[in-house]
Symmetry: C2
Subunit: 348 residues, 2 copies
Amino acid sequence: MAARRFVDGKQRVRIVDVAARAGVSITTVSHALSGRRPVSEATRERVQRAIEELSYRPNEAARSLRGQPTTTVAVIVPDITNPFYPQLARGMQDVLSPKGYQALICSSDAEPVSRREIVEQMLARRVDGICISGYYDDHTDAEPAVEAGVPVVLFGHRAPYPGISTVTTDDIGAGRLATEHLLSRGHERIAFISGPSISGPSISGPSDVGPPADRVAGYRAALESAGIADELVVHGPVSREGGAAGMRQLLALDHPPQAVVCTNDFVAIGAMQEALDRGLDVPGDVALVGFDDIDAAALVRPALTTMAVAIRRQGQAAAQLILDRIANPDQPPQATLFGTDLVQRQST
Amino acid sequence: MAARRFVDGKQRVRIVDVAARAGVSITTVSHALSGRRPVSEATRERVQRAIEELSYRPNEAARSLRGQPTTTVAVIVPDITNPFYPQLARGMQDVLSPKGYQALICSSDAEPVSRREIVEQMLARRVDGICISGYYDDHTDAEPAVEAGVPVVLFGHRAPYPGISTVTTDDIGAGRLATEHLLSRGHERIAFISGPSISGPSISGPSDVGPPADRVAGYRAALESAGIADELVVHGPVSREGGAAGMRQLLALDHPPQAVVCTNDFVAIGAMQEALDRGLDVPGDVALVGFDDIDAAALVRPALTTMAVAIRRQGQAAAQLILDRIANPDQPPQATLFGTDLVQRQST
DNA sequence: GGGGACGCAGACAACGCTGTCAAGAGGACC
DNA sequence: GGTCCTCTTGACAGCGTTGTCTGCGTCCCC
């Protein structure tokens, strides 16, 4: 006859209820549960039965207040509706779940607050680790976590930072591979539709930052190696509309390019539709390469050639880095670089 | 000169550090923070300054242990990589974030444990509300939450259940509308590629359950109203492969259908590619309708006609139902039904 | 000038759990 | 029979908050 507590009509079973039912002290229940000190077989069984009869489950808040790990890892993504990030989250769950950890997924642009604020919130929840994803170069958001001694993995950042591990895609290599692929198909006049430039959309300009800039850098390197001086970079929003606008800009030129590298698949698909809508043949009149290999890349017609980023595997790597740091806090942070694979389809 | 605590190299500022720095008691700090009892302006400012200087943030675990709400709502989805569910999550965040609530997204099939177990875990974390999504008819998973007095919304379930609110799509109406659309285009021999049947894949059969069954029911109702007796339902996995297999089955018939309703867009896209690969014209030889209006539906060529489910709006509604129940626990649960819109593209 | 009202702030006891200290029972051994 | 283990269990403090009780001035009014 355990004495339950009723609050607002809610009833929750506490450890003392289990103890009363099993006829032991709460200490014994706790230790029977955690196995952190020996408990006789008979007692353990009585406790176990009481737990089942009462459907007892320890209060996580009380546990973590006592300093126990929360077995929770925060995964901060810029936009949960971008299919890229659920894949990342899934990869992390692949590794975290079997170890009993929960991924706490936060979409930062859905929040009215800054990413740094989200990090603070997660620290207040005492998460055991944090993964921050998204292309940006500012790692100061992660500082409070580093100071608090919570393992952090930056995902998509280039620069390693003291106390922080990173998981990054080799975007320079990817940009080079994509461009070399087009060169090998005989194209010489190759353009790049990139993300927004700092000085606003314009033809060319060295002002872009972050991994899109890396992809452009790879593109430039490939052209240079091939002895081609004409580079053609347009900027715009990273979206289908941005891709369409970029393509319009390119097609309006006196000498439109024969092939276009696009900073991601959304942009490429937008560019492709713009070209198709104008009656051009893809890849006959203009060949296209994207990045990321999102689901839709295989579904559009012609199917999009793209540089595949093994995002789920990268998520797994990020999770593993966090678990390693949790297990061994003194371990130095690591920087992991992932290569990309050309997935050739019909658009080149 | 606040005395910080160092644990495993982690340093966290506690309320007592703030109190010491501001020269007041911890009680005063607490109340200055919560505003739950009057604090003089001068004191409030001193406390505020101390908080900022120390970067203090209350420990959420201690708060919720004292019975404060966690301002967290669990969102349990079957598969985070299915683009449908991030939209749902995003819709919920649209409503939750401005109210200061966090969505805790859990992908249940990533977990090695049952959905019921996840519900239990969320209760142990003292979430303030739970949204369970996914097509299935078993609401027993939600029982522990109902018993604990935690607001629950079932998403995609048909049957209301005592103490549980539901947000559901009118799948019967959607199935009917899709079929009527094909009828109005002059098709008479119309098939349906459905989800798995309980008795295994087969031609027709009344054994399917859940909303896919509802869509089939709407399809049947439309045919009946039109005076058409020939119904043609094939079953298979809800995936692109399943759609391709279903289409193969249909094309192998003596009299293949002129039009096919598919239980969702993935299935429809798989079916479309199978048809295109066999040299058929879509919609000339076979017209296709899907459900859900996923991103890819607009991207494939021909673009897919589909029944759009305003999933994000439904997520918003689900979140609102939970917030309402939190604000007013005695309020009876509500069942919300959402209609669907035909988005006509090129496949019909 | 005394009594009550009021504004403000501190002390203290929980919340539910776990690590540590301590002790009782029982057996082994001298 | 007494001492010393070992095995098992219980009591207790404390994790960082917040709600409540209490107390101290100050002001107002009769």
